[in-house]
Symmetry: C2
């Protein structure tokens, strides 16, 4: 008996789609049946790559009876509207992180999907990466005792990569709290058990030409007594991929001798329009297609240096697996290299839709992560801890493979 | 014209003295003229090593007219009493970190030394290490713009090294806040400009058999808008010397293949008495002497991974100097290997006593660091930010060489 492929429609053929494209194209449980995007070149490319239907409007995509589930990868500020559209047409939804820009929007999305009786998932985020999921399994094994402290640190050039104006405007979902903490907090919540109780954060906006949060430090308390300490710098010159064996965020090999490329490239740009145009050269249908989306010889995705201090071991997810530093020995809990990068997000979606298995990365989970991110902004503004009240734990079955 | 050597007396021939012994013995500006310790074997060893006077009582040492300055390396809880004794006899003082266990004690020490008209310094702490001082000079050069964020991270087996009972009792100055934050906070204050405004901390006491703080996470705000994020684990299995080129805290080469020695050794110990006895085998006069205090082929001391994010560079102190990650290039600002390890602390003392040059690490500086450490304990207990009011900046001359 073969489970039929999930017939997926894509809402938004931008950067999020491009990052998931190798996975979408290769996953044996997925068939791409349609896409919607306002850019004609993107639609043309999609039709050519997948012999699939294309639409200028998300509403048309959602009305397509051949589409079972929609992957919503439109700009952050449209997530709510597009999830509600998909719900109205009875589609399952995978919505990109950050889930939305307010808790009210997240709640509305959850309510709409619940009324529709369809699955809602939030991702891809790096908390789907196999090494973090495997670390969670090792914690659940009980072999290493309680989780006590989680350290997460990521130094990147995020803020100096080509950006559209809204990506540098916090009110429109720009900056590293919405874009990057949505990964890092999600990972830390996965490893800490999910239920954070309070957050204290300091954010940094250091470059008047890029007027949004580019860095932060965070202390996060969990209901089980564990705490986490997170640091992110998107202004960085130092690159923490050094602590990940010079494997990049997408699992690609990094050249440690290459230095300062993002800033050097940006120095050649003289206006926001030029910068947006530069970004568009990395966009599907305008320079990029299925043919050049592949990643050869890669390791697992990662999101910087992470170590989980447990009673009887420190667990350090790595691009090759999980480095276990136990009381008497140290060893690599190796994972096979990913045949299909980021497949975990689609596995979890298919498990939900085809097998009624509750996902970790549900709407409620995504809302809880956004509560922490929004709490970071509030804490940075007020200089105080922010109490958290919408947190959820992991599903009982611990949907880990 | 030769400056006469500083005639130094040692109060307490324990671990602090042992760590500074190679420096004290080799520094050309220092002559060890006397020591006091209750242990007869330590006194006998000192007399043999230095042909110097020895006393059972600190009061006798302080009364010795040949002594110009006293290095107070007695247990933390006695620092105030011993500084007051030295002050009463008109001696200059170098007192080990942590300066004392309360701000009231720190203030009393400062007042006593001021009345005596003598210099008070606090150290050794790792903020004397040449790479941190050089980083401060690079910041002061203005070449790299403002300091924005400081990340400090140290994972060690501190809590599983042999300890005396009071080292595991916070009320008597035990635990990593008094012993280790006194280093890390001092470094971070040096790099951040000194004047912290508030601290938020979470501490971890995870082992009922070692009932004191063994780990912490800290967010620290500075008056110049910079902030710092500190993490320490003395329960660690992962060893952050990996991020320091496998050079140890004392600049000694570490063997990355050696693993878990502290826990393995401790597992052989069956009582607090046995453990204290084990610690004593590492003590001056009982197993250790001048002859086996040397460190050959060492790099600079360090206190874990530290990176300072400035506007135009990230600065990363390392055992070899300062790794500069600037906008367009990356390079090592190399420092010559230390001919005399930790000499900076004695240089600063001699500069003060012989040349009236105000030290960075004054009593007021030490008090400010203790204010942060005590604030960490308070913040961890109350779950809130603690405002800081006793902070001081760096001396105008910036006593850096």
């Amino acid at each position: 008996m073969t489970t039929p492929r999930l017939r997926l429609g894509i809402a938004g053929l931008g950067r999020g789609f491009m990052l998931l494209l190798p996975t979408l194209a290769a996953h044996p449980g997925i068939r791409l049946v349609a896409a919607a995007d306002p850019r004609e070149d993107a639609r043309r490319q999609f039709a050519a790559d997948f012999a699939a239907a294309t639409y200028a409007e998300i509403a048309e995509l959602c009305a397509d009876p051949d589409v079972e589930a929609v992957y919503i990868a439109t700009p952050h500020q449209f997530h709510r509207e597009h999830v509600e559209l998909a719900a109205a047409h009875g589609k399952h939804v995978l919505v990109e992180k950050p889930m939305a820009l307010s808790l009210a929007d997240c709640q509305a999305m959850i309510a709409a999907m619940r009324r529709a009786g369809r699955w809602l998932m939030v991702g891809h985020s790096h908390s789907f990466d196999a090494p973090y999921l495997r670390t969670r399994e090792l914690i659940d094994s009980g072999d290493f005792g309680a989780v006590r402290m989680i350290q997460a640190l990521n130094f990147t050039d995020f803020l100096y990569r080509p950006r559209r104006p809204e990506e540098l405007d916090t009110t429109r979902g720009g900056g590293v709290v919405f874009s990057q903490a949505a990964h890092q907090v999600d990972i830390v919540r996965l490893l800490g058990g999910g239920r954070a109780t309070s957050v204290r954060a300091i954010t940094g906006s250091w470059d008047a030409a890029r007027p949004t949060e580019g860095a932060y430090g965070v202390l996060l308390n969990f209901d089980n007594g564990a705490f986490a300490n997170l640091t992110y710098s998107g202004f960085a010159h130092f690159d923490s991929d050094e602590f990940c064996g010079w494997s990049g965020e997408l699992g690609q090999p990094r050249d440690p001798h290459q230095y300062g490329r993002a800033r050097a490239q940006l120095a050649q740009v003289h206006s926001a329009e030029e910068e947006a145009a530069l970004k568009n050269t990395r966009t599907y249908g305008a320079g990029l297609s299925l043919a050049n989306s592949g990643l050869e010889g890669i390791t697992h995705n990662h999101f910087g240096f992470v170590v989980v201090a447990c009673d009887r071991a420190d667990l350090r997810p790595s691009p090759q697996g999980v480095q276990v530093y136990a009381d008497t020995r140290r060893y690599l809990e190796a994972l096979p290299p990913p045949a299909i990068p980021r497949r975990e997000v689609l596995d979890e979606l298919i498990d939900a839709v085809r097998h009624d298995r509750a996902p970790i990365h549900s709407g409620e989970w995504g809302l809880a992560t956004m509560e922490v991110c929004l709490g970071m902004l509030e804490s940075a503004a007020t200089g105080r801890d922010v109490a958290l009240s919408r947190q959820v734990g992991l599903p009982q079955h611990a949907a880990l493979r």
